[in-house]
Every structure is written in structure tokens, then in C-alpha cells.
Symmetry: C2
Subunit: 137 residues, 2 copies
């Protein structure tokens, strides 16, 4: 058996409108790392955040493609988690990029926000509660 | 706005039997990094492959939990991708760990294998075609 190295390289989702999804994830800071076409015509795009190895894969299957399926919300996937310094700011930014804020949770030790991407994929932003600004003297 | 650092920390799935999923992903080399309980009783476990930052999150919601949902195969998630040195060996290993091999593709430039984890989450192993063994002289 060859050397047993397993590299957790990407997490792949399906998108219904590639441009829309690229606009959304670009708005979060992802950049296109690589893209290609599958033999049956499907398109994949690998996105990366600068300096981070794990990729987000967008898969697009046009209607008529053998892998095309209508949108159906499942329960096997839960969400992607992003640690951020300012949860509120990132939720707002994601909304401006085309997402939908579905839940904001403010706790004493942590803030959370859940945003749906344009295809309904849940994204969690979590981070420290916003520091209170000092009043000017 | 605070410094805009976004860290793609984990990809989270839902599991129906935590022990079964832990056995499966341990069989692939993942190790438990951290675990905790949510306020509503759900359990999360973060798994990591040694030396790799991106975590796989397992979320377990018992029947009766407000987040519990029956298994429903969706189309928003596609699959996790793992680069390996020996695709066949990893597919077999995943099967022994409790997965189900659903597809093997042998191409001249790359081998692929798709395995369903115990909850039906698709995993892709991809890597170079197995080198032919030299016949003993």
C-alpha cells in the first residue's frame, strides 16, 4: 500500500448560478484558484481565501446535464464555519454580497450569525462580542 | 470596522449516530480535536487530520431536539475532496471503516473513487493512477 497521506483539500457545494455564487464568495474575500470542466460538461471552480489551504469548490451542472438536479434542501450538510473578528460586520458584508441573514445570536462570550448563501447553503460567522468603544474623553 | 480576517475553519455535516461517524472518520485518520454541547442539547465534534488546519465538524441532534430533522438527501452540498496517493487503497479503507463505495473511475491521468459516509455524505478520493509494479526479475 502506498504512503498513506490523506489531504482534506476541498468542500464542494452545488450552485445554480455560477456568476451569482462567484460574486457572493468574492464578496467574502475568496479568490478563484483553479477552474475546469468535467467530461459531462459540468463546471467546477476552486476558491481560496488568501493564505489558507482549504478550498471551497463550486460545482455547476446546467439543466440537461446528467448530474443536474432541481434544488432540494437536504439535511446531510449542516454549515460552513468562519471565525471572524467582527461578526456583525461580516454578516452585513455577506448580505450586501447577495446572502440572506437568517439568525443573529449575541452572547456574552461569543457572537454568532448565520447567513444563507445564494443557494441556501448555511454559513456561520463566529467571533468575540464587539468591544465597546470608549467614549471620547 | 475591525480587521477583516476571515478564517475558513470547518465544514459541518449532520450525523445520525455519532459513534458510527466517529468510527468512520477515525478510520480515515481524523482525530477528535474538540467537542462540545450546544445550549439546546445538540453535540458537535471537531475532527482534524494531523497537520491540517481545516476541521470536519460532526453535528448530532437527537430526535426531539429542536434542530432534529429526519434524513433528507439534498442537493446543495456536493462532496468533500481528498487528495490521496493511492485511490483504490483509500476507497477500500473507507469501505472497511463503514462507508459504501459508489463509484470508481480509472482514467489515464487520474483515478477517482466516490464513497458515501455512513450518513450518505459523498467523499471523493482522487490521485494519480496506481503505478504498475515491476515484475520481479
Amino acid at each position: 500500500m502506498a504512503a498513506q497521506k490523506l489531504r482534506f483539500m476541498y468542500s464542494g457545494i452545488r450552485v445554480r448560478d455560477l456568476d451569482r455564487s462567484l460574486a457572493f464568495y468574492s464578496g467574502l474575500g475568496f479568490r478563484v484558484h483553479k477552474r475546469g470542466q468535467m467530461e459531462h460538461g459540468g463546471i467546477w471552480v476552486h476558491l481560496k481565501l488568501p493564505g489558507q489551504p482549504h478550498r471551497l469548490e463550486l460545482n455547476y451542472y446546467a439543466p440537461g446535464n446528467p448530474h443536474y438536479e432541481p434544488v432540494r434542501k437536504g439535511t446531510e450538510f449542516d454549515h460552513f464555519g468562519f471565525r471572524v473578528s467582527d461578526v456583525q460586520a461580516w454578516a452585513d458584508r455577506a448580505e450586501k454580497a447577495g446572502g440572506k441573514i437568517v439568525l443573529r445570536i449575541v452572547e456574552t462570550h461569543e457572537n454568532l450569525a448565520y447567513v444563507e448563501d445564494p443557494d441556501g447553503v448555511w454559513i456561520e460567522f463566529f467571533g468575540p462580542p464587539a468591544r465597546k468603544r470608549r467614549k471620547p474623553a
